[in-house]
């Protein structure tokens, strides 16, 4: 193939909008009196349009399923499975904490058919440890999200030790919880019924903060939210 001539680069730069104002003015003066240059610019412009139009609509990617070989990029389904497995193992083994990285990856790969409106977030904040600093961090993060411009939906989901945050008999932040629940209508607190049941079986009487909802299972609740495209944040 022949080597491109120096002058050709100017025509390319012109059709690609790579010239400065002065260069462009000079080129336009030149092109008016040079039919060959004019034709060349028109041809390149046409070609550029062809390429652009040819890839306007590309074939959709195939569905990710068992037929496609496993690879480092197909973490979505695996992450979702591991998340659920993590929860189930947590139930069996004294509710061990989830692996946050797995959950993060799961949230990245969950692509909802119809996402939230622009400028809005849907976030699950998950707390499963009885740690005062983490309780505070959870509430701080929830407030930070709710304070942003836009319509946001935030759920604080508590299970295992994290349930203490939502228990009026143990939570150090009951007043703040009430204040936040009153102030932010799109902020929801969700307690895990499985954890409540387990505490009950151990003879521990629990009183859940009155504005909190109770989900049958934190596992199912979080997984459903991930499937719906919510962002998962493990505190």
């Amino acid at each position: 193939m022949k080597k491109p001539r120096q002058g050709e680069h100017r025509v390319h730069a012109f059709v690609d909008g790579q010239m400065t104002g002065r260069e462009k003015a000079r080129f336009l003066d030149e092109i008016e009196s040079d039919a060959e240059l004019w034709d060349s610019a028109c041809e390149l412009r046409r070609l550029k349009e062809y390429v652009s139009v040819a890839f306007d609509e590309v074939p959709p990617p195939p569905q990710r399923g068992p037929g496609r070989h496993a690879g480092p990029l197909r973490l979505g389904a695996a992450a979702m499975f591991l998340l659920g497995l993590g929860f189930l193992l947590g139930r069996v083994t004294m509710e061990q904490p989830l692996q946050p990285m797995v959950a993060e990856q799961a949230s990245e790969t969950a692509r909802p058919a119809a996402g939230p409106a622009a400028g809005s977030y849907r976030v699950v904040l998950h707390i499963d440890e009885a740690d005062r600093h983490k309780f505070m961090e959870t509430l701080d993060r929830a407030e930070e999200l709710m304070g942003q411009t836009g319509t946001h939906l935030v759920e604080v989901v508590a299970n295992a030790g994290g349930l203490e945050l939502l228990r009026s008999d143990t939570s150090p932040f009951v007043a703040r919880l009430r204040q936040m629940a009153a102030h932010y209508p799109n902020l929801r607190f969700v307690a895990c019924s499985n954890t409540l049941q387990r505490l009950h079986e151990q003879g521990i009487q629990t009183v859940i903060f009155e504005e909190a909802d109770v989900a049958p299972s934190a596992v199912q609740h979080v997984v459903r939210r991930l499937q719906e495209g919510w962002v998962y944040v493990k505190v």
Binding site: M1, Y50, V51, V58, P61
Partner: protein, 177 residues
């Protein structure tokens, strides 16, 4: 990074996905592979989001990652062969001579037949409108190489698509008679 910043970045990355997929498809001609490349690119971008200093350069940064993903894929596929992207030509996208084929398919086939180095340059410029300097940064090549590859790519495309307009005119004249 604050949680809100992270969420904003995630949203911006998610919005880039269709364009990354399109670019990957233009490079590799395989929908499944293009999907994997786009996904890998976004995964790496999230993992290394702290390295993005200037958020205005998000797109350049993303396409640099995409290019790295693509190069790594090629190296994995041909681990024992020295890869010369100037020589790489997609053989799985045959160009057909039939005028009946859509213009889109003709152009895609012509693009697919370009050496990979040229293909990347012409698609980054024509599909995403990147400046030459940005393409040089994304592909980590001198700007002069960008210009010469672009020139060669378009020369080859013009040559391969030269008959399209001529045949189109004939078809047009026949159809109005």
């Amino acid at each position: 990074m604050k949680i809100v910043d992270t969420l904003c970045l995630r949203r911006r990355l998610a919005a880039q996905r269709p364009r990354l997929y399109r670019m990957a498809y233009a490079w590799c001609c395989e929908p499944a592979l293009a999907d994997d490349l786009a996904q890998e690119c976004l995964t790496r971008a999230l993992q290394h989001s702290h390295q993005l200093r200037d958020h205005d350069r998000l797109e350049c940064w993303l396409y640099t990652i995409l290019n790295n993903c693509w190069r790594e894929h090629l190296r994995r596929r041909r681990p024992e062969a020295e890869f010369d992207e100037e020589e790489y030509v997609c053989s799985s996208c045959p160009e057909t001579d039939s005028y009946q084929q859509q213009v889109v398919d003709r152009v895609r086939a012509a693009v697919a037949s370009l050496p990979m180095g040229q293909r990347k340059v012409v698609t980054l410029v024509d599909l995403e409108g990147f400046a030459y300097a940005e393409v040089a940064s994304i592909l980590e090549i001198p700007i002069g190489t960008v210009m010469s590859r672009l020139s060669r790519a378009r020369q080859a495309l013009q040559s391969r698509l030269a008959d399209m307009a001529g045949r189109g005119e004939k078809q047009y004249l026949r159809s109005i008679r």
